[in-house]
Symmetry: D2
Subunit: 342 residues, 4 copies
């Protein structure tokens, strides 16, 4: 088949990142148009990446019959509506996480996608990181037998500004949502109950907004296995992303890759480099791989590796964690969404 | 001063381990008598280690005026009574953990020790492991600023026999009690609330006895910091003992030491040795160091590095974890012991 | 300034690799023409990478006034002649190593470049690897004081076919030449004498061609420091590239980066992935960085990071090693090139 | 059988180290007498370790019929004579390395031992280090197939005083002799030729004495395999002892064990402890294991793991390296000892 024609909706940081990857590191696809509510953003992006058309209205992308697929990289509050419009226009969809911050909206969007029969992939990029993917494959290959305990540590280098925290949905829906997805991916199992603890240890302004900056969550999986996640908004040594799956025949540990392997040994001991600073450094290869996978999936007509349901369940987990924190008690996922049917 | 005269009470595995260390690797002390309710055990121990006197009644050690200090290495149910008798006889006391499995008994024993003015050290050996000790010292030295999150993983190579589980007090009082102590040691802070989850994933007979073989616990510290502990009764790759203290200025990670550093690289990738099999291998140097510290403490008249209160609080934490597991809710330590006064 | 116009000469494996990097991962430059003596190779490359012009004669690139710089990626025997022609045409030059396999030819090419005043960078890509670069920078920053000992291990995953060995100049000029360059780069010093040992342990056909497949070389630096290099044509566990610089204040060790950090621990011990298979995997980022550096150097009018002289000296070292191996004695570099003037 | 009766000859640092290990960490043997030409040294040692008899003349140990075996821990110049006397007295012998610094003396001592039919073990302790031993066992087990290249790095934390250097025989006979032994042990092969380079980079007084403080040596093994050793008299980061055996099916790397596994990560990167300071820390377990092996060997009547010939050959290698350094040319071992018969 010929090259897949992509329309990019949203020319902010993550939109431009995908666009650059599509342009420079992924074959079999080309961006034919970019739209952004800020026309200058669309134009700058188009110019930098030789995209033929820069628009200020995503509708014009959806109405363009040559467009095979769209990348939705706008602000969260517009994701669901754009998914629905794109589905109704018959476009395949790559959408950044989260689909939405309320469940009825998510359900409606997923129902529309289902009716339209288009393909939808959610942007949980960490599933495409070679380190986590290898852990997943080892679990899937039975190398540790039945999984017993999951551990995830995930720490950002610095907290977001309070304005962002205000609209983000809080640490569980904005940050730990990635770990909720990773929990399901690595364990190949669903979570039925969560218990969350949190604290404001880094920035009191985050506490004033009703959020926490440090959080630990216990997970209970359907299989009976248990899980632990800890998050911090500030690790001064860089972007810290580790995981472990322990099971009946062994354990699989994913530690942090580092920018270089060089070690300096002196009279004070050994020193090595700090971690990658943040996600665009650490996960660049994962971003490329997720887009390659999306293109491949369209070409082959296969189901996407991160489905709409995979996009929804971490949001349910996030709400369960929020309620657990507020009431200091374990919360079952079906308390948040009785129809979840795990 | 001359050599400190030790009476050993209990010639089982851990008693003989301490006796061999006192004989061969610790200076400034000598064992003058060993007592065991099984006279043959006492005699065999005396013979192997050239101990002048083998007895079948610990009273005779307590009544011996030349004895400066006793090592209580008997079964748990006799610890408190022997502590009281030894304290009343004016002997300094090294006692294996736990002091007892019920709190009034512990309180009475500690009160007796206090009245008698003798020195009591509890056998939480991991505090003397060079890896954990260095982590403690780095925290104490302010290297990571204020601690935010503690993580401990602790896994045994194989589950104990069901008969042992029955009398052990269960996973929280028998196994995780060490991690509860380590949590207080590494964080230099007290825990005010715990939430425990558990599962029977390894041996159904453990479940039939009302215990779990896999457990994860969330801790809330007095300072507001959070903690996570996970335990498993069976790690097929050996005795797995790791910890991390994360704080405002960095993180400290203690990984497992290994029997050798040798790595074999072949076409299948890299291979290295499994972990030490169990605690006598992993913690041998720690056992020596704790006994050296006890002897040093007596010589210098200093307070012991693991006090009676340090022996009591993990038992309170264990009961809080048991209640939390039974009722699936967070439990405050003062719910278990209103007079704890953390 | 506008985009730098590149002419690519040679559309084989390494030529296409540079072309793809120029197209997709380097900004500020564009390939305007590609030439190859096999017209289909030039055409395929042009088509894949949207290069406007595909030619069968490099002369047409050299005669094209819009071309600012050329990449010489042809077979070794044509490098020197193309360098001279390009220099005379006033083009800046990136040339793959080695410049040539005989010293008078190299000297003549370098003299032509000098006369023409164009910029010449030699393709010693490892200088741009982030691991080795960091080691270099630590040495340059005085972190280990005066260097005392250099160690380099460099092993390929499999031996080249005998036909290649025949024309390659042998292990010292084809393979260890990279390590000779790395020795000068890491030590920031010149080598005055080498002693080489070799053996045929992998493929007897290599021995029949008068070459060895396993070699170790001792280096004596101008400063008095010493060095050791070992090469093997076949490491079954992958492409093994390590280095160490030991000095008065410490040591710097560069170990192999790995495709992932994931470790599987089971009852047999720990396992992790094999190394990257070969240079295009291991050094992809270095290839990008060397081209970026070349473009940057042209833009700024700065001297290149790998000069013509840097391209020549490793060839002298290779001949010294060959003579040393043949006569089993140490050989000084000025015995090979009396005018070298280190 | 009953306990083996040991006579200790020489109560200096290494003698007391063995004595303490025999007393405290080795079963099946006991020291019945200690002799030293400084009577106070013998007496202090006897008192500290409860040895019944302290003597000033080793003859009295050799004449004592209850003594089964002797430990010769005196200065090097007395080793050979004491070996001969002990052998003639029918005692089994553990002797520190080297046997002597001249080959005829060594040969005479070994001939006497052979005639007497006693057991002689030389104190090459590193063979008993668990890291190197595991490497040896992996090679012996065929895990890497035929060995191709050996690499050893061995660095002391600080140079010895010039007075010591003067009588030591120089870096090849005093320090690298251990690596020569390790080369034979790890490769399970003999060396036929060496080439040595050296430099004075640390202490000019060492140079004034005709010795070097930094040395690299190339080895050629009988099998055709090659080897590299580098030594430095001063590594500011501690006692650095590494090795690698590379072969047709893989490679085995022995890195340095460290005093603890704790890593501190901060904004400057990761830090971990320096290496063990020197050999008594790094090799303590190896010293215990070599003595256990000696006792076991006597008990079982088996050949020792480090024979008299194993003691001699590294001395031959040391002289070959000295000559190579002096004449800057490779030297065959049979040039030093034509009767060596490798």
């Amino acid at each position: 088949m010929g090259s897949i024609k992509i329309g990019l909706i949203g020319a902010g940081r993550i939109g431009r990142l995908h666009a650059a990857n599509l342009r420079y590191r992924v074959s079999g696809a080309e961006i034919v148009a970019v739209a952004d509510v800020f026309p200058e953003a669309a134009e700058r992006c188009a110019q930098e990446l030789s995209i033929p058309s820069a628009l200020d209205d995503p509708r014009r992308i959806l109405d363009d019959p040559q467009v095979d697929a769209v990348f939705i990289c706008t602000s969260t509050d517009t994701h669901a509506s754009l998914i629905e419009q794109a589905a109704e226009a018959g476009k395949n969809i790559f959408c950044e996480k989260p689909i939405a911050l309320d469940l009825p909206t998510i359900d409606r969007a997923l129902a529309t996608v289902k009716r339209a029969g288009v393909l939808l992939q959610i942007g949980f990029n960490r599933r495409f990181d070679p380190n986590f993917r290898r852990a997943h494959d080892l679990v899937a290959g039975g190398k540790i037998g039945r999984p017993h305990v999951l551990r995830i540590t995930s720490r950002d280098p610095e907290p977001p500004p309070p304005e962002y925290v205000k609209v983000s949905g809080g640490i569980f829906l904005d940050m730990m949502i990635h770990d909720f997805d990773m929990a399901r991916y690595l364990m190949q199992d669903d979570v039925v109950e969560v218990y969350a603890s949190g604290a404001v240890l880094i920035d009191p302004r985050i506490g004033e907004l009703g959020d926490v900056d440090t959080a630990v969550v216990t997970l209970r999986f359907k299989s009976g296995a248990l899980g632990l996640i800890d998050n911090s908004r500030r690790a001064v040594y860089g972007y810290d992303q580790r995981a472990e799956v322990f099971g009946e025949k062994g354990t699989i540990v994913v530690s942090n890759p580092k920018p270089d392997t060089t070690v300096l040994s002196g009279s004070e001991g050994d020193r090595s480099s700090a971690l990658y600073h943040f996600f665009t450094d650490r996960y660049m290869d994962a971003y490329v791989a997720e887009v390659k996978s999306f293109i491949h999936t369209i070409e082959k007509g296969e189901p996407p590796l991160v489905s709409g349901r995979d996009g929804k369940i971490p949001v349910v987990m996030g709400y369960a964690a929020k309620l657990s924190l507020a009431e200091n008690r374990p919360v079952r996922l079906d308390e948040i969404d009785p129809g979840l049917n795990l």
